[in-house]
Symmetry: C2
Subunit: 400 residues, 2 copies
């Protein structure tokens, strides 16, 4: 390991692998059931509730938590009809404290960094990762440094991060340049790196499927569908599912699907072609900003778990399909950012293509909150203000 503790000599990313001795799934289910009524301890968290499968040896005082997870799992008939499956559930990781699924992993990464004595945390990002990182670093009483690629500045996206007190460093170059710099210099700078190369983020993100299984009394739907950007979410889903099965928490593995945006779909392209080597997309381009990643850091892990171990499938969807699905999710009263709608659009395609059977059930994971990306929301009202009267209002309403 040179310069960064998470990079293997082979150039790949390290991963947490445990021998899993002495796990009694029935006893743990009982313990986790009991913890559901916690409200003011670390076990009130939807991540740390499952500490035994996430980071068993971490001493409690290092844990920095905002009771992340604990998100709604909503059945919706409208989306079931839209996608064409018998029953559909939306798992709203958008309800996390910073507004995205990144919190599930970040609480573990920051807690791990604190246990190593770090007081400065870092990542390269202009989106959900940086705001989650900055929030947990602040909560831990530590500082955070966020590298912003100069060609990708969007004021609204960095404001949340800035609010939590992150130091923002604008640089010449791309996202990948920032990642490379962190790999090389995070150690001499005394910065703990929280990009998705950090394996403890994957460990934390496994809790999304743990919590979903718990909510469903350990019987998962036939399919679980996630969006694919950096692919840490897909990796965590795959790793988490295999552990649940291996350790006896669930009897049957669901099928999994990873949905990318057409303009940023190098993983889907690789899988479709039967390749095992990813060719990065040099100019990723999608309205779903959280999926706008051309060189997904966790592609090897995702390939191993999702394709190799779980025989999962992939698909890509257009921006138009994403926005249509988002509109529907929003109008159901659930709501999400565009990236989160890709699984719904993808599931519809998989049903149409006969990959998913109409009699099957599915859950889609919503990764980010509606409020994360309000700029893309179309809206309209009567072009000029009306004078309020019963007639005028009735006229407008009957027109609609």
């Amino acid at each position: 390991m040179v310069g960064n503790p998470f990079i293997c000599k082979c150039g790949g990313l390290l991963e947490v692998v445990r021998p899993w001795k002495g796990i009694d799934s029935e006893k743990l289910k009982q313990l986790w059931d009991n913890r559901l009524s916690e409200r003011m301890t670390v076990y009130a968290s939807g991540v740390w509730r499952y500490k035994e499968l996430i980071y068993p040896e971490l001493p409690e005082p290092y844990i920095t938590t905002k009771y992340e997870g604990n998100t709604g799992l909503y059945p919706t008939e409208t989306i079931a009809r839209y996608t064409g499956v018998r029953q559909l559930l939306l798992k709203a990781q958008s309800e996390n404290p910073s507004g995205s699924f990144k919190d599930n992993g970040m609480t573990v990464a920051v807690s791990h960094g604190r246990s190593l004595g770090y007081e400065r945390f870092t990542c390269t990002s202009t989106g959900n990762t940086s705001s989650s990182l900055a929030m947990y670093a602040a909560l831990a009483g530590c500082t955070s440094v966020v590298y912003l690629p100069g060609n990708h500045i969007s004021a609204s996206k960095v404001r949340q991060t800035a609010a939590y007190g992150a130091e923002l460093i604008l640089f010449n170059g791309t996202y990948d340049d920032g990642i490379r710099f962190s790999r090389q210099y995070s150690e001499p700078l005394g910065q703990y790196v929280c990009n998705s190369m950090n394996p403890f983020r994957i460990e934390g993100q496994k809790s999304i499927v743990y919590e979903m299984a718990h909510q469903l009394r350990w019987e998962l739907p036939d399919w679980i569908v996630v969006p694919g950007g950096a692919l840490s979410n897909a990796t965590a889903l795959g790793k988490g599912l295999l552990e649940l099965k291996q350790l006896g928490f669930i009897q049957k593995l669901p099928r999994v699907a990873v949905i990318q945006a057409e303009g940023a779909s190098p993983f889907h392209r690789m899988v479709s072609l039967g390749d095992t080597s990813l060719i990065p997309e040099p100019q990723p381009m999608t309205i779903a900003s959280a999926l706008n990643i051309g060189n997904p850091p966790s592609w090897r892990k995702a390939l191993h778990y999702i394709i190799g171990q779980l025989q999962g499938v992939t698909a890509s969807v257009t921006d138009e399909e994403i926005m249509e699905a988002k509109g529907l999710i929003d109008r159901c009263g659930i709501g999400c950012e565009p990236a989160s709608a890709a699984p719904v659009a993808g599931l519809k395609q998989l049903v149409r293509d006969g990959v998913v059977h109409p009699e099957e059930t599915a859950a889609c994971i919503l990764t980010g909150h509606l409020l994360k990306d309000t700029e893309v929301i179309p809206y309209s009202y009567s072009p000029s203000p009306i004078d309020l009267s019963l007639e005028a209002v009735n006229g407008l309403l009957s027109r609609g």
Copy 2:
């Protein structure tokens, strides 16, 4: 009652008053403890968990819930030091599904409307009320109509509301004009009114202090501090506290304080002068948009509960004090919209003025999420992008 079911003949607002027979506080505490582990029923909600004190007779099938409430209660030493009290808690209603405390009340109002057979819900608002209303109406499979004062359009504030599918009607006039129109015409239009004149919203919002008491094992801090805008939050706090005491859930009533923004502080002005009649502020003006209300609809109820029954206090704070407090709350990793910071700024003032003793403890209620109002967040980074190098980054960090 003419035109609107919530307006008394006297012109005041109706209120839910119950005889409270047969309440056994110890039995209910046990029942509510048991419900803490619910995840997929209506009792998983941080509002409906307390159904026996909120709306006991409503049949479950009418309940439209997004598991609202269930928000974090965070002790923070930084804010305790800043305000000057011994211990400080922040109750983060900002963590509600639509991002504000309005969800606590709106789930009850919309459920009540459904029980009456309404399928169209309405309010006048450009802010948190309208997005909460639109979300619950959509979740219930109903429609919503939101009246937008033409002189107060802020695109970013209505986008969330529009996303949930609300029909937006822009009109000539003020917020007060919209309220007047709803009072008169909601019945003929078949619209169920969800502005704060709706007494079921108050009933739902009582759950904020119920949940806080539950989290603290029924021992509240010495002071509870809320922001004062429309004053429904203050009313619900007062009503909720008195019920908890009267019914034997808590032994000791905390003191309460309502904090207004200086540019929109007609309630504080009235109380300071010892008056019992509110003179509206014709041109309210504060950066805390959720407090920018000149004629608070619930002022009579707030006067009755907060001042008359609880001998509470009021204060007003400047926009500068609000933004300073907000900056600190954000940098603690908790985060909030500007209005939510008023209680922290107000508490600091009350300690300085000797009203609150430094040995006392306090809880401030955060009403809205950081993401609700990112436009007001100041941020900065190195004026031009740097070339990434160890020296350049070290130089920037040592400067900061």
